[in-house]
Structure formats: structure tokens, C-alpha cells
Amino acid sequence: MSILKVAAALAAAATMLHLAPAFANRAEHKPIAARPVMDYTPPPAGSYALHVIQRTPEGAVIGGDGKPHQLSEYTRGRITLLSLIYTYCTEPTGCALAYETSVLLRERILAEKRLHGRVRFVSISFDPLNDTHYSMQAYGGKYVRADGPLPWHFLTTASIKVLKPILEGFGQEIEVEVDARGKPTRTISHMLKLFLIDREGRVREIYSTDFLHPEAMLNDIKTLVMEEDGQRH
């Protein structure tokens, strides 16, 4: 779908519908998604390699402070778990699952002091027309943190035009679903992916729904920490 078509479809959907964040203020977070089954013991952290899959793209984003920033400010210098979401997504195996998995992982990371200050979470909106930096902060609720042991940044962009190269860089296509009359609905079709990025800004793992196993993801993060610390496998 072209930039103009995506923008037009999103604008049409936004004017037709009241797009309050589906999970605004997630402070009262409750498990809402059926988790993918994990019936194995993951290999120990540091016992395997995470190859460089691709580089992260650069781009302009709007931070929690409402000011413009370079995306690289959020993908370099720390191990980063990055997700692409939109605030009114209701797909239980989509954004909601990504959010819930991140929350679970956050708890595990905070429980291990040696990981403090080594990791950050980043969530970027698919829909800059609806998701202002205010609504993104509302979506993040109590988990919004700009610093501390585990920052979690909720970002948006200034426009579809600015967002598109970021999505393309991550290999993340989106389409606004239409109804039988060809009119845009409230659903943005996208493939759920979370990106694990090393401190050099290189994607080292990508998790789609079937891979959202917090235990294995935690070991991946620890593997990158060990790599940074010179404890390679």
C-alpha cells in the first residue's frame, strides 16, 4: 500500500471512529492473551550465538517528551527490545500479546540486578495519525520510564511519510483492513514482530507470535549481555 493510501485510510478510520487507546493506562494490566505454548527448556544463556540478522534503520521519532529525536537514540548504547504497535489494537495475538510479553519480561529483568541499566524497551506506534505522544504515554501507563534500571519508551512519529522508511527498514508492512464496501476499518493488519537489538544497533533476534517465550527471550538478552562482557559462548 502506498504512503498516500495508508495515510488516507488511517485518516478515514480515525474520523469515523473514536480511537481511544484500547489499553490506555495499562497500570491495571491483566493477562489478556493466550500465550504461545513453550514446551521445552531453552538452552542456557551464552551457550549459543545470536547472529546479526540486519541493521536497524535510522529515522525521526517523537519521544515521550513530545520532542523530535533520532531513532538511533533508542536503539544504540543498550540492548533494546523494540515492538511496533498501535494503541487501539485489539488483536489478542497481536499488540496485546507483545505488550503482555514485554511486561512479563520486564519483571524478570528487574528481578536480576546484573541486568539493570543494560536493557531498554521501546514501543513505536504504527499509526501516527491517531497515536500522539500523549496517547502513547497513556498507553504505556505506569510502565513509561525514560531512565532507571529498565527504561521503556513509547514513541510515535510525525507522519506516515516519516514512519514508512522505519517500517520498511524493519521489514514491517502494514495495511489498513477494509470492510466489504472497501472502506477502512479500525484494524491495521500487521505481522507481530519484536526485535532484539544489541548496543551497536544490530538486530540479533526477531520474535513473532510463536517465538514469544519469555524464558527464551530472557536468555537471549543475557546472551547479549555476556557477549558485551566478553563471556562469549
Binding site: 504461545p36 521445552y40 540486519q54 495495511e175 505481522m191 510463536d210
Partner: protein, 445 residues
């Protein structure tokens, strides 16, 4: 001992003049990578056929042939698009990227990987990239299976660029077509059996973190004239006899299984409650079951015979039903399409068979199991000769009891080439909705 046994069997098989072994994988909607999104659970609109060019037939080039398969379309059962890639590189298999937007198609001879955009307009695929550095980056040749993982593609190769034998490996490329990593197939003893270093198919069970691989043969054999090969006793010894279970996350082989007779396609049951896979062995005509061993590992068991192995039916492609209760098996030599009841995977039973062509290879079923597509070509130098060299894509309806042919596209008559691997596609939802609307408007007038 298992190697000795296999050699004995291969030698016996080699005595038969009419002999071939299959190349086929990941054929259909029920056999895609579990990481591929947008499975088509309704009516597919198009079938794309990766077709081997034939010298003197049409343009002679390998090509992607697109056939309209929607019965509501005026082009139903017709070729609506052809996309030659130039030259003949032994077109073989294809696989979707995780987002199902692109189709990667490999050449077993030239080791090129053509990337087609089938997401933008599946009625008119476009060639957007050709990856030609597989041998240079990995030392492997003959890219066979293309298996999507998030943001990247696992590529199981068949051979290597040193001796063109069967020792090979797995390559990973990202979705942009850039090389990421390589892994050699296991050639040492692991868990009581020795790996042969060969490769063929691969398939993943995400919830168990396991990758299964099977084994075939190298370039020297799959590019050799089949009649010549079966008379070459040494060549006939060089077929895979193993499968391997890998730790997927670590990409490390954990177990080797002795599976004599060249185990080919691997199909995991798609039933969420199941944790087993099946394969078929080309040379020994058996179905094998791979399942947990109760001790935290896996085991491989011979559970059924396909046809009469002494007549060398040569099972090639297999297709498992979405509920894991049935398995289609094509046998190349006798042109038979067989259906096995897999209700008890420990004891599959053949419950139906039909001759569907003079030679049949790939078989692809729709998600609901009601439609079964079949193509004819195995390998350019292994296909039958003369009048037996039928080349086609055929659609059959399956009502649970009988296959009824709906139509057949003659790839010789249409001057297209040898019809090999198939993949389904559907029109983008927006266009589909618009089309439905226009139909309603037209009806109202």
C-alpha cells in the same frame, strides 16, 4: 550397521532399470512454515508453479507460471501470467517469506535464488531480486527448501561446491536477501547414530524448539541422467540415510536417527495437541514417524509401507491434512496418488489410491482438504521420456472418498516446461472486497 543395511537395499534397488528418487518439499497450504502469516483457509485465487525450462519448448527458460484457480473467475483453470527468469537452472522449490509477500524460488543447478513479489499483485508476480552468492558465502549448492523464520529464511541445500556430493548444510539469509549464517549438516556420531552430512528438507516445531532435517543426495546424482545413475553402483550408494533433530534456538544437532532409503519431506502435524512428524523414504517406500521418546528426546519409527516396495513406486511429495488425520502420498513411477488415514500415526493405513498421471511428483492440498493439486516433474534428468513425459498441473476435488479431476493444464502443449513446485496465493483483502462489491453492483443493474 545401518549404513551397511542401506547399501544392501540401494544395491537391490539399483538392479531395477526404471528408477528415480524424488525432489519435493513444503508443497502446500498445510505445509508452510508455522511462521508464515496469512494462511489461506478459504478459496485460493492463484497457484504459482515454479517451472523448469525445456530447450526448444517455448522460450526455454525457467519461469513462474501463475494459474487462476478461483472457480468464480472467468480465467478459472487458465494460465494468466508467466514470468521467465532467463536460462535453465533446474528450477525446483519455493517458500514464502514470513509476511507472505515474497516467494523465494531456487535453482538446484545454478544455485540462484529468485525472489518474486507475489503480495502486491498475485496475478502478476514480479521478479524483484536474484540472490546468486549462496555458493560463495556458504560452500553449499543446490538450494532446496525455503523455510520462513521471523525476518529471515532458512535454506536447506543439497550439495556443496567442492565435490558436488551430498555433504551440505543450512544457510540463513535475512528478508532483504543478505547472508546471515551457515550451519553444516551433522557428520559425526550424536546419540548413537552417525550423521551422513546430507540434507534435503527441514521443518520446525516452535513449541518444542526442535528442527528436523532429512537427507537426499548431491549434485552429482540429481543432475545425472537417471538411467545412467541407476546403473552406477557407486552413485547409488550416495543417498542419505539419516534424519537429525536440532536444538532450534542454538541451531545445534542433538540427535541423529538412522532412516534408510533417503527420507525426504518432513511434515509436522498441525494439530496443536500433537507433537509428531512424518516423512517418507524414497528408496525403501516407507512412512516414518518422528515423535518424543519419553526421555526428553526424539525417536524415529518405521510405521507403514507405501505400495509394494519391491516395485519401486518411489514416494515423492507428501501432504498432511490440517487436522493431522490424513496424508497424501504421490508415487512417481506408477503415477499413483494415495491417501493414508493418519488417525493413528503409529499405524497409517492406505485407504484410497488413484492413478493421476504417467508421472506425478508434487501434491498440494487446500487448508480445508477439499482441493488437491498435482504436478508432474521430478528433476529434468529424472523425468520419464517420450510419451510418458507428461507435464501438467491438475486440480482434483476430494469429497473424502474420491478424487474427481476438475481440469488439467498441459504444460507441454502450452510450451511452458516441466511443472514442479506449487504455492497458493490470494488477492489482497481490499481488492477482494472491491471485486465483491463490483459483482454486487453489476448484479443490481
Amino acid at each position: 550397521m545401518s549404513i551397511r543395511l542401506e547399501r544392501t537395499k540401494v544395491a537391490a534397488i539399483g538392479a531395477f532399470a526404471a528408477m528415480a528418487v524424488a525432489g519435493a518439499a513444503l508443497a502446500d497450504e498445510t505445509c508452510n512454515s508455522p511462521y508464515t502469516t496469512r494462511l489461506i483457509k478459504g478459496q485460493e485465487d492463484y497457484v504459482h508453479v515454479w517451472t523448469l525450462g525445456v530447450d526448444g519448448l517455448g522460450d526455454g527458460s525457467d519461469k513462474l507460471v501463475t494459474v487462476d484457480v478461483n472457480p468464480k473467475s472467468k480465467g478459472y483453470g487458465k494460465v494468466v501470467h508467466t514470468l521467465p527468469v532467463g536460462g535453465r537452472g533446474e528450477a525446483h522449490h519455493m517458500g514464502f517469506t514470513d509476511d507472505r509477500k515474497f516467494l523465494w524460488a531456487g535453482g538446484l543447478d545454478d544455485s540462484k535464488i529468485h525472489v518474486f513479489d507475489v503480495g502486491t499483485d498475485p496475478s502478476k508476480p514480479k521478479l524483484v531480486k536474484t540472490i546468486a552468492d549462496l555458493p560463495q558465502k556458504t560452500g553449499f549448492v543446490g538450494p532446496h527448501t525455503f523455510y520462513a523464520m521471523p525476518g529471515r529464511m532458512l535454506i536447506q541445500a543439497l550439495s556443496n561446491n567442492k565435490d558436488h556430493g551430498g555433504v551440505t548444510g543450512i544457510a540463513i539469509y535475512n528478508n532483504k536477501g543478505e547472508f546471515v549464517a551457515k550451519y553444516d549438516m551433522p557428520a559425526t556420531e550424536i546419540g548413537g547414530a552417525k550423521g551422513d552430512g546430507y540434507g534435503y528438507d527441514l521443518a520446525i516445531n516452535p513449541k518444542k524448539n526442535v528442527l528436523l532435517t532429512s537427507s537426499f543426495t548431491g549434485w552429482n546424482n540429481y543432475m545425472m541422467d537417471m538411467g545412467k545413475m541407476v546403473k552406477d553402483a557407486e552413485a547409488m550408494k550416495r543417498f542419505g540415510t539419516t534424519m537429525a533433530a536440532w536444538d532450534l534456538k542454538a541451531m545445534k544437532p542433538k540427535q541423529i536417527f538412522s532412516v534408510p532409503g533417503s527420507p525426504l519431506e518432513i511434515r509436522w502435524s498441525l494439530n496443536p495437541k500433537d507433537n509428531w512428524a512424518v516423512t517418507a523414504t524414497a528408496l525403501t517406500s516407507k512412512i516414518w514417524l518422528i515423535k518424543p521418546d519419553g526421555k526428553g528426546g526424539w525417536q524415529a519409527k518405521d510405521v507403514a509401507t507405501i505400495g509394494d516396495p519391491s516395485k519401486i513406486p518411489l514416494p515423492v511429495d507428501i501432504s498432511i491434512s490440517a487436522d493431522g488425520k490424513g496424508l497424501w502420498v504421490n508415487t512417481f513411477m506408477d503415477g499413483m496418488t494415495r491417501y493414508f488415514d493418519l488417525t493413528n500415526p503409529e499405524a497409517p493405513k492406505e485407504v484410497y489410491s488413484k492413478n493421476t498421471g504417467k508421472q506425478v511428483n508434487m501434491i498440494s492440498q487446500s487448508w480445508d482438504g477439499k482441493r488437491v493439486y498435482i504436478t508432474s516433474s521430478l528433476l529434468a534428468n529424472w523425468d520419464k521420456k517420450g510419451e510418458d513425459n507428461e507435464q501438467f498441473l491438475a486440480l482434483f476435488d476430494w469429497n473424502g472418498k474420491e478424487l474427481k479431476e476438475k481440469w488439467r493444464v498441459d504444460f507441454n502443449k502450452e510450451k511452458l516446461g516441466r511443472a514442479h513446485h506449487m504455492k497458493f496465493s490470494a488477492k489482497p483483502a481490499a481488492k477482494k472486497a472491491a471485486a465483491a462489491e463490483s459483482v454486487r453492483v453489476a448484479a443490481a443493474r
